[in-house]
């Protein structure tokens, strides 16, 4: 009876004392291995025993897997394990046929990624043609884009932003890591510049701010 009582007390202690760091690393490893989806740090912390520090464990784990056949990668605000890209040729069996995107869809995806949050009118202005409903639907369905918050401009139009799935698919840690983003910004090509025959009010600044917020470093 007494022994039993002590046995019951033991796990109780662990509720108040966090597991060792090496143990926390094992736990994060197990959780990340179990899923194909990226997992956020709050979600990890929720699943780890009380007192664990998922962020630190992740850091250790990431270093451990450096140069291995799989890697711990960051996807937006979440983390996942992915095979090393140089070994892709071994995975022919696992290759997923992705639906071929039209040129228009690819262009629109790039515009949304580099200009987010961006309205439909802005996409049309950049491409010089009207946006087809089907193309937006396709990107939404693939969950590569989603609706962002509305713009603070007249009509409060909805905006589009890229998703975590998009980052995951293209192996991007954050939207800031988009190829060539820095150069584009430096050359002013991402600035919202309305045609000169229209009123150039203060709206322009707001839009600029929105964008900056999105890509804040």
């Amino acid at each position: 009876m007494t022994d039993n009582d002590q046995g019951d007390d033991a796990p109780r202690d662990s509720l108040f004392e966090a597991p060792l760091e090496a143990e926390q690393e094992r736990m994060v490893e197990a959780i990340l291995f179990a899923t194909a989806e990226p997992i956020s740090i709050p979600e990890l912390n929720a699943r780890l025993p009380h007192g664990c520090d998922a962020e630190r464990a992740l850091d250790a784990l990431r270093r451990r897997y450096e140069g291995r056949g799989v890697a711990v990668v960051r996807v937006g605000e979440a983390w996942a394990i992915r095979t090393a890209p140089d070994l892709g040729y071994l995975m022919q069996k696992e290759t997923v046929e992705t639906r071929k995107l039209s040129r228009a869809a690819i262009e629109m995806l790039a515009i949304i990624a580099y200009h987010q949050p961006v309205t439909r009118a802005e996409i049309e202005e950049i491409r010089g043609v009207s946006v087809s409903r089907g193309t937006i639907d396709q990107l939404l369905e693939m969950e590569w884009i989603r609706f962002g918050r509305r713009k603070m401009t007249p009509g409060r139009p909805v905006t589009f932003v890229v998703t975590q799935d998009f980052l995951d698919h293209f192996g991007l840690e954050t939207a800031r890591d988009l190829p060539g983003l820095r150069d584009l910004r430096a050359s002013g090509l991402l600035e919202s510049r309305p045609p000169p025959d229209r009123d150039t009010g203060g709206d322009e600044d707001d839009e600029g701010d929105d964008q900056n917020e999105m890509f804040e470093d």
Partner: protein, 262 residues
């Protein structure tokens, strides 16, 4: 061979020109056409001659008309706008005109073309990246995360005190009503006990005389206990039985008093 090469170049140029005109459907609108045309200038988009571009476009529209190709309205709108821009660029600025200058308009068009080209370039770079499911892969054998729903009950201190006050004051605020079905009178208990005690030759626990069905509800149990106890006192008084209790709270026992009668 150099001669052949020149020949092939010419063919390619002719085919490109034809394609440009005939295959209007292949373009994504006037801006796309302008971007294609600007390439023939073979300069950096930043140094492009918008005037020359406007002329190229107007020629493109003329040729389309000559070939009786129906151009969509937006191609014609662009042609009209470019004709206007061309006149702005060629004529000296009118001081009366408050609108934007030809240079401003040209600069904006150049900006649009450069931006569209930049977007196409980064789109290509994006698609050239390693992609999930093609170059790198997620976990193949995923494990379902079992969802365990746990209900946690809670209460506040106020709930607790109010509940307690409610219990302790319940009787006081309730109008007095006799709950007949839960009460056993002493008379009823006497009627039950009289025929039974005669068989109690030995000390028997009073509680063993409790009627069936009165034990579950504490109110009924209390009432039955009290009435039976009172009934035994009556029976003692009448000299039928005797009572004893070992100590405080010990069971009360009764026995028929026939021995005394003898």
């Amino acid at each position: 061979m150099p001669e052949d090469a020149v020949h092939l170049d010419e063919i390619a140029a002719r085919r490109a020109a034809e394609a440009l005109i005939v295959d209007v459907d292949g373009y994504e609108g006037p801006l796309d056409v302008l971007l294609q045309l600007s390439r023939t200038q073979k300069v950096d988009l930043r140094q492009i001659s918008v005037l020359q571009l406007a002329e190229q476009y107007l020629q493109f529209v003329d040729e389309a008309k000559a070939l009786r190709i129906e151009l969509a309205a937006d191609y014609l709108v662009m042609a009209a706008w470019l004709a206007f821009l061309k006149s702005r660029l060629l004529l000296p600025p009118d001081p009366q005109d408050e609108g934007p200058s030809g240079e401003d308009l040209a600069a904006h068009l150049a900006f649009q073309l450069e931006r569209l080209q930049a977007m196409r370039d980064v789109a290509a770079r994006l698609m050239a990246r390693d992609q999930k499911g093609r170059d790198f892969f997620p976990r193949g054998q995923t494990q379902m995360v079992e969802r365990v729903r746990r209900v946690r009950y809670t209460a506040t201190l106020l709930d607790l005190t109010q509940a307690y006050a409610r219990i302790r004051t319940r009787d006081e605020f309730r109008p007095y009503v006799m709950d007949r079905d839960k009460v056993m009178t002493m008379e009823e208990a006497l009627d039950r006990l009289r025929p039974l005690v005669g068989f109690a030759g030995e000390w028997t626990d009073l509680s063993s005389y409790m009627p069936d069905g009165w034990d579950d509800d504490p109110v009924k149990r209390r009432s039955a206990t009290a009435s039976h106890f009172a009934a035994t006192l009556e029976l003692v008084k009448a000299g039928h039985i005797e009572l004893r209790q070992g100590e405080t709270f010990a069971p009360i026992e009764l026995r028929a008093r026939e021995a005394v009668g003898d």
